[in-house]
């Protein structure tokens, strides 16, 4: 009951605090901004069909050359108020990062941050994504988060590269898709007008001391009415389940009319655990009644696995 109360308070707040293209509450006479997001999903193939996937608070502040960014999250809360099947509240540090601008075009960041890999990992929350479900690549090829150091440099106005390094335990490792204690990654990003492209490669050591390395490329066309995105990743590891994996997807999002988008995604991946090559087709529709709320529905068709289903969600950014 108390979680429903929290949900309604947050949802109500979201209608009040989202003006222009800014979100959150700006603390008067300071650079501190506090906001957050929440999303609720329905998935007919999940044990808990209805879930509050995420309820998160974010804060950010800057001072001269420093930028602080934090994100604390309650995740997977069922409608009866349990978090990850436990009645205890499970709070996680999703991100806690301090960035220092070394110069106009170079910066260094320490803390826990989203790995600078691929398109989806830069905005891995439902309100920012066109679909409720994510491509297979996102959760299976590289660590979502890194606890370490990140160096970023602009090469020119249209391209940049970054280096990520971790040689310690993850400060919130129960939250990571792959539990790691080592990670080294290089990423390149370029753009020209509506087109952009990414190259990422890296190596990590998971908590079971198994090495893995990955490489991926992706490209995106980001037009006013149409967004097309494609990525391909491959991964190799000593672990039999992660040997010579690959996955690729192509997604298009068509803005049918103001507030209404239609989405199509095709993806293919190789899954060693069940020794199969799977193909997935997704057809989705999203409606954004205001710029900080989205309602999404999608049908997912699996060619081999018995996972065909409808998924629905509502997400709010505040």
């Amino acid at each position: 009951m108390k979680y429903r109360f929290i949900f309604f308070i947050l949802a109500y707040s979201s209608f009040l605090y989202a003006t222009e293209n800014s979100y959150g509450w700006n603390i008067h006479n300071s650079s501190l901004n506090i906001g957050g997001y929440l999303d609720m999903t329905y998935d007919s193939k999940r044990e808990e069909e209805f879930l509050f996937n995420d309820i998160a608070m974010m804060f950010s502040s800057n001072n001269n050359r420093f930028d602080l960014l934090g994100e604390i999250e309650l995740s997977h809360i069922s409608v009866d108020g349990n978090s990850n099947n436990s009645s205890d509240i499970d709070l996680k540090i999703e991100r806690l990062e301090l960035t220092y601008a070394l110069s106009d075009d170079k910066s260094i960041k320490i803390g826990r941050f989203n790995s600078d890999i691929g398109y989806w990992n830069q905005a891995p929350i439902s309100i920012l994504e066109d679909t409720t479900t994510e491509p297979y690549i996102v959760k299976n090829f590289f660590p979502k988060a890194t606890t370490g150091i990140h160096y970023h440099q602009d090469i020119n106005r249209n391209s940049s590269f970054s280096i990520t390094f971790q040689k310690n335990n993850d400060i919130s490792h129960q939250d990571n898709n792959i539990a790691i204690n080592r990670h080294f990654a290089l990423a390149y990003y370029g753009e020209k007008e509506e087109f952009s492209w990414r190259l990422s490669l890296g190596k990590y050591l998971n908590d079971s001391s198994i090495d893995a390395n990955y490489i991926g490329i992706g490209s995106q066309y980001d037009g006013d009415k149409l967004v097309i995105q494609a990525e391909i990743f491959t991964k190799n590891s000593d672990d039999d389940n992660n040997k010579n994996l690959y996955s690729a997807y192509l997604q298009s999002t068509w803005n049918i009319k103001d507030k209404h988008d239609a989405i199509f995604r095709f993806e293919e991946y190789k899954d060693n655990t069940i020794e199969t090559k799977e193909q997935i087709y997704l057809l989705g529709y999203s409606y954004r009644p205001s710029k900080n709320i989205v309602l999404k529905s999608e049908y997912i068709y699996h060619q081999k696995l018995p996972l065909n289903r409808f998924v629905y969600s509502i997400s709010v950014l505040f």
Binding site: E20, N21, S22, Y23, G24, N33, G35, Y37, M58, S60, N62, N64, R65, D67, L69, T99, A101, S103, D104, D105, Q122, A123, I125, I127, L128, D154, R157, N158, D222, D224, N255, D258, K291, N292, L317
Partner: protein, 139 residues
């Protein structure tokens, strides 16, 4: 038909003919390219001469802002909303919204380095540096 022509003429008259992107009189650069201005107003480049830049914009739907977004940013309202949602999650914030050119000029006089834009034909009494001039494109 005549009413439509008159309305079109009124709308056209409301929009500035040219915009000037301006900075403090001692702004560290003499000129900026359209690409550089775009990067600054989208929060991709926040520092200049190793100092954090104050970036100013007008209120949503004001004629001068519509002109700026079409002519410099070259993005629709839908694209800008999508862009700022992601940027907010990454810790970026949109330019400071000011209500008038007078207020913009006050910030420009007090805070260094700062950048904004004005209608070329608007009279202002504070010295500034013109960094870029663009024809207002509202098609």
């Amino acid at each position: 038909m005549r009413l439509f022509t008159i309305l079109t003429l009124i709308v056209t008259l409301l929009y500035p003919k040219h915009l000037l992107v301006i900075g403090n009189i001692d702004f560290p650069k003499e000129k900026l390219t359209k690409e550089e201005i775009k990067a600054i107003f989208l929060g991709k480049h926040q520092f200049i001469a190793e100092k954090r830049l104050l970036v100013m914009n007008y209120k949503y739907n004001s004629t001068i802002r519509v002109c700026f977004e079409k002519s410099i940013l070259e993005k629709s309202k839908h694209s800008l909303e999508r862009y700022w949602r992601k940027a907010y999650y990454q810790g970026k914030h949109p330019p400071k919204v000011i209500s008038s050119t007078k207020m913009l000029m006050l910030y420009l006089e007090k805070i260094y380095p700062s950048i904004g834009y004005i209608d070329e034909n608007q009279a202002v009494d504070i010295k500034f540096k013109t960094l870029f001039r663009v024809k207002c494109n509202i098609d």
